[in-house]
Every structure is written in structure tokens, then in C-alpha cells.
Symmetry: none
Subunit: 198 residues, 4 copies
Amino acid sequence: MERTEASTGTAEGRRARRHDPERRTRVLDAALDVLVADGVAGLTHRKVASRADVPLGSVTYHFASLAELRGEAFRWYVEARSGEFEALFAAVRTPEDLVDVLVELVQGGPSRRRSAVLGFELHLAALRDPALRVLTQEWTRASRAVLARFTGAETAARLDALLEGMILHALLTTEPQSREETRAAVVAAVAPVSGWRA
Amino acid sequence: MERTEASTGTAEGRRARRHDPERRTRVLDAALDVLVADGVAGLTHRKVASRADVPLGSVTYHFASLAELRGEAFRWYVEARSGEFEALFAAVRTPEDLVDVLVELVQGGPSRRRSAVLGFELHLAALRDPALRVLTQEWTRASRAVLARFTGAETAARLDALLEGMILHALLTTEPQSREETRAAVVAAVAPVSGWRA
Amino acid sequence: MERTEASTGTAEGRRARRHDPERRTRVLDAALDVLVADGVAGLTHRKVASRADVPLGSVTYHFASLAELRGEAFRWYVEARSGEFEALFAAVRTPEDLVDVLVELVQGGPSRRRSAVLGFELHLAALRDPALRVLTQEWTRASRAVLARFTGAETAARLDALLEGMILHALLTTEPQSREETRAAVVAAVAPVSGWRA
Amino acid sequence: MERTEASTGTAEGRRARRHDPERRTRVLDAALDVLVADGVAGLTHRKVASRADVPLGSVTYHFASLAELRGEAFRWYVEARSGEFEALFAAVRTPEDLVDVLVELVQGGPSRRRSAVLGFELHLAALRDPALRVLTQEWTRASRAVLARFTGAETAARLDALLEGMILHALLTTEPQSREETRAAVVAAVAPVSGWRA
DNA sequence: AATGAATGAGTGTTCATTCAT
DNA sequence: TATGAATGAACACTCATTCAT
């Protein structure tokens, strides 16, 4: 179904091909929009259908249950975010570069908010849904792996925790931490790095 | 029921408190139980009533809306947790004591799980409900104040973030961090303390 | 109950007498306010209590049931309105006076609206509640009696119907009838009066 | 059910109408039954569902809110009644015919009661719901237009008001007006007709 | 006499899910 | 393949009414 390109030369095949995956991802994107706006609690077939501008039946057709829709949406998110995360560090050459990127990660404005909110929604949902825990573990593993390339595994783990906490606080506070404080915290967490590896 | 009539002060106190507070706090405790078990999304009048073993109408009588019930429950939790948190550090005399307490905070088993889950539920809910943000700010302020007594304000802030992140990871991971790693991370975060203050 | 003045010379009787009726009528007035604002369907103990600024229990204490409250409120209204109606015609000396008063009755602005709305609420409620029908009959009898003093019984009946219909239309229309049309209609209905009687 | 499949035009027509209109109109009829029996105040989804013998969900599916259901039911009623009203006057040839029809309209027994009750319910509800006022205006316009064909606009308006008032009184009184009195009132209201037009 | 507490019935509405087409 | 119709369970909330004090 996913790779029958050779066999789907007919008009019908092409049409189906053209419609279906487009639908699916549009629905998943809409689901993420709803998750950002209303949280896991507010995710409903109807809201997703409305936001994706597809019939209600289309959502239930593509996703057997709401749990599946939620899971697929979060999977879609983790994949996308892992890629972005990876990309962020592609240009890091020096410890200073690393710090810059990490500070930007925490202080990142509204553009980063969506991603951060989805991350915490996923973490909290995973607390009760083992199927989602696969995703949080994958995400934790991936992000630590990226950090570990520069800092080693142990520092990566604590750095990861620090970032998570700082981002959560940044989302909620009305008096945001100054860039300097954030930088100082990041530097302190990265500092113990004995040998630079990038 | 918990006090004999003879011991309950004034007539007003007796009349006003005969039925109410027992009910109210029992309902709030039940609400927290539901929040731990099913999250903010799963908080319903019915579940709370059932767990508190009171009629449905009793919940809606004491709390005008579900939002109010949720808010009061979280307020109740923040108050209680602030007290516990404060108490944890009462016996801290040396930097080593401080580290011990913090490690215990992160590694703390099932007993701490309830509190941690409620904390994250509150944080996520506060993202969308300004009324709850008052509580997260109060909680953040209070916990940092306690830490700052030993470490100074700036270190307290980053320590707070680190703890938050580590606790969140601890809740979700299947391969918990070793006590040594946790200790190392905490020590590193506390280390910059120039002058000990306790 | 209504005429024990001679026997209630005691302090208790006096106190009850002094507090009770004040409360009662304030509640009844509040009930009429609610009836005007929200209709018979919207009449609830709580709304009445709130508008009268008395405790909920006070309403249920003075009126055994919602039906009783409704009935007493309407009775209060009919009594008051009958008096006003009577008074309106006190100064009528000539057929021209009569017409003036009737036109004013129909065209009467917002001041008359409250009364008109209550009247129709009562009529419609009486359709299903025989207890209220006593009141509509009393009101119809009283208003016709007043009119009949000037026009005779038969003309009074049709005049009454005409007024009722015109008032109802006036309440609902966006393009109100001109004063001249109203006057013409009233004159035509009064005209057949062979012999003037006032 | 009312049409054989062979007679229902296009495929689209058939598919779209297989289930829906039967349901929808059955629900609307049931809603009118409830309105007659219990008034606007007594209109509930559950009563309607029960009377229409459909599941509760079916009512909320077809009508997004109770207000919509109420509005659609009244619209349905106004359309039907306008037709009936129109038809009543189809055979009118002389002023005497007109009077006969009008008298019948007022004196009309139980058969007319349902219609009259719905009319007053609509009028009272329209007092508070602007959406319904569209319907009362349409109904007033339509009925006056019919009358005006025989009497001219101005007489039609006052005739309309008179009829409304007489019908309302007829609904409520225990001692109904005699046919002769009704006839006399109608004749007097129609009399001013200068030139007969039918 | 007066009232706050309490409760169970009932309301409008939302929703995930199923199913016929 | 895709979707509108349909449904029954559950929800937050309102309320008349009862009752202990």
C-alpha cells in the first residue's frame, strides 16, 4: 500500500494516491493544532475534522480510534521534532556554538512554544498511556544522543533535564529569565565537559 | 466526627462547621486522587463524587463549577506540598545534607510519585488556565525561596529547573537514572555555591 | 389569616407581621421582575431569591412550591393592575376622553410594556394551569366592567378583545402602528355606542 | 415511505432523502405536539424524542440546539398555518362569506385549538427571541395580506387584532361568547369596508 | 421563624463509534 | 474508498424540594 508506485499507473490509483496521504497528514497536522490549542483533553474527532476541513467520517475512517489518532499525531510530531532538533546542532563547531544553540532553544519565542507545548502534552499523556511511552523514550533517546555527541552521555542526560525544566518554566512564567541567566545555567551544565568532541 | 462537640469553640464555629469542612476537604482529596489517576482530562464531577462517597449533587453544591473544583483542589495541593517541601529542608545543616535531600526528592519512590504527577498536571493545566497560573507561580516562588536560602537566588532557579526536569524524566523512564548519576548532577548544580549559607 | 388583626396584638404577632409581609411582597415583586425578564419558563426560586436579595431558603419558606409562588405573584400583579386600570378611567368624562385613554393604553411605551408582558405570560400560563385561570377570569371581568361603564357590556367585550390584540401586536412589531391608525380603530370599536353613559 | 423508490427522481434525491426528511419532519411534528401540550417552557429534547419515537441522539443530531429545534418547529407551523389560512378564504365571494369564515375562525372548536395555542406560544416566545420575531412578522404580514384582499390594509390590521384578542379570550374563558356576539363584533369591524373587493 | 446544606431528578449538549450506502 | 446518518453513554450543570438546626 505504501509502495506500489509501479502498479498504480491507472488514473484511479493515482487519484487515490494523491488524495489519501495528503488527507492523512493534513488530519495529523490538524490534530496537533488541536493538541496545542486544547490539550489532550480537548482532542476530539470533530474538532480535528473541522480544523482539517474534512468530513467527520474521514477522520474516523483514517484512524480507527481516537487513541490511534492521538498516537499517530504524536508520532508525527516526534519525528518532525527530532529532525529539527538534529538540524539545530548541525552547524555547531565550538562549545560556544553549542551554548548559543541551547540558549536559543530555551529562550526561543512563540515559534518554539508550539513544539514545547506538544512535548509536555506528550509527556503527561505518556504517563498514563504505555503506547505513548514508546514515543517519549524515543524522543529522550534521540535528543540525548544529539547532545551526547558534544558532551558525553552523562552530561547529556543532566543537560537534557535542565533544558526540559527551563523550557517548562519559560512557558509558564510571566517574568522570563534573562538571557544571561539562561546562558550562565547552560554554561555551568556544559562546563564539566572535559574534552570537547565536536 | 473528628471533634467532640464540647471541644468545638463557639456556637458559630459549631454550626458552620458541623457538616461542611469534612465534606469539602473530602471532596478535594477525592479530586486530587482522580487527578492523579486520570489527569485533568479525566476529572469529572461523577468520579469525584464516587471516590469521595458523596452524592453527585454534593460536589456541585460545594463547587460551583468543575473549573472551581479543579482550582480549589490544586490550591489545596500546592499548600500541602509547600509545607512538605519546607519541612524536607528543615534539618539541612551542611551542603551534603542539601544534596541528600535533593537526591531523595528526585529518586523518591512511589510515595513521591503522586505529588510529582499532580505537579505536572498543574503545570500543564496552567498553560491554558490563567487562574491556575497563580498557583504555579506561587509554587515556583515558594520552592525557589527554600532553595535560595542555601544557594542564592540564581543557583536556586537553575537547580529548580534541573530538579523539575529530572523528576519528569524519572516519572517516565523505564531505566531509571542511578542514584550516583543523580547525585553527580545535583552536586554539579549546587557546586557553584560560593558561600554556604545554612 | 387575612383578618385576624384584632387577635394579633402580641409581640410575636407584631414582629411576624412587621417582617413577614415586607419580605413576602419584596419576593413577589422580584418574582414579577423575573417573569418579565425570563418568562414563566425562567421563573426559579434561585433567580427570585437573588433578585429580591434574600436567602434561597427564604423563598421556599414563604412559598411552599414554585407553583404557589407563581400564582401569588400573578395574583399580586392582577390586583395591582386592576387598580391602575380603574384609575386610568377615573377622569374620563366624554367619549373623547375614553378614546384618549384607550389609545394611550395601546401606544403606551416601555412603561406599559412590563404590564403587558406579564398579562400575556399570565394568559398563556393559565392555559395549562386551572389555578391561574381564576386570575385571568377575574382580570377579564374587572377590565370589562370598567369599560362597560362607558360602552355597555357587549361593546366592552369586543373592545377588550381589540385592545388585547393591538397590545400584543404592538409588543412584537418593529413598525408600530401610527397613533392615528390606533385611534381610528378604537373610535370604530367605541362608535356603536348608542347612548353615552359616563 | 410516502413515495415509492421508482418515483423519487435522481439518485441523489433518493440517497439524500432516504432517511432524513421522514425523521426530521417527524421530529418537528412531535416538537409541535409537545409545544401544544407543555408550552415553550416544556419543550425538551427528551420529550420530543419520546413522542417522535426516536432516540435522543437523533434529535440532537438533526437540530444543533434546542433553540434551533424550537425555531424550526415554529417555522414549520407558520408555513402550514399560512397555507391553511389562505385556503380558508379561497371560497369567499361575498361579505357574508367573509364574516362566516371569520366567525368560524374564532369559534372553531378543538380542531382550531392546537393552532391557536401554538400561535400564542410563538408570540410570547418571540418576545424574547429575535430569531422567532421573524416568524411572527411573517405570520402577521401573511394573515393581514389575506384579509386585506377583502377589506383594505387598515381594516385588515384592526380586524387581525380583534381576531387575535377574541381567539385568546375564547381559549381561556369558561363561558364562551355566543356565536351571535362574535358575529356582531366581526360585522362591526368589517363594516367600514367602503368598497367590497372580492 | 428562618436558613444553609444537601440531594436526586432532569436538562442541553458533546462525543466516540458504528453502519449503510 | 469514503461519508453522512445515526445512536447511546456520558458530561457539566440547574433546580425544586427537603431537612436539620
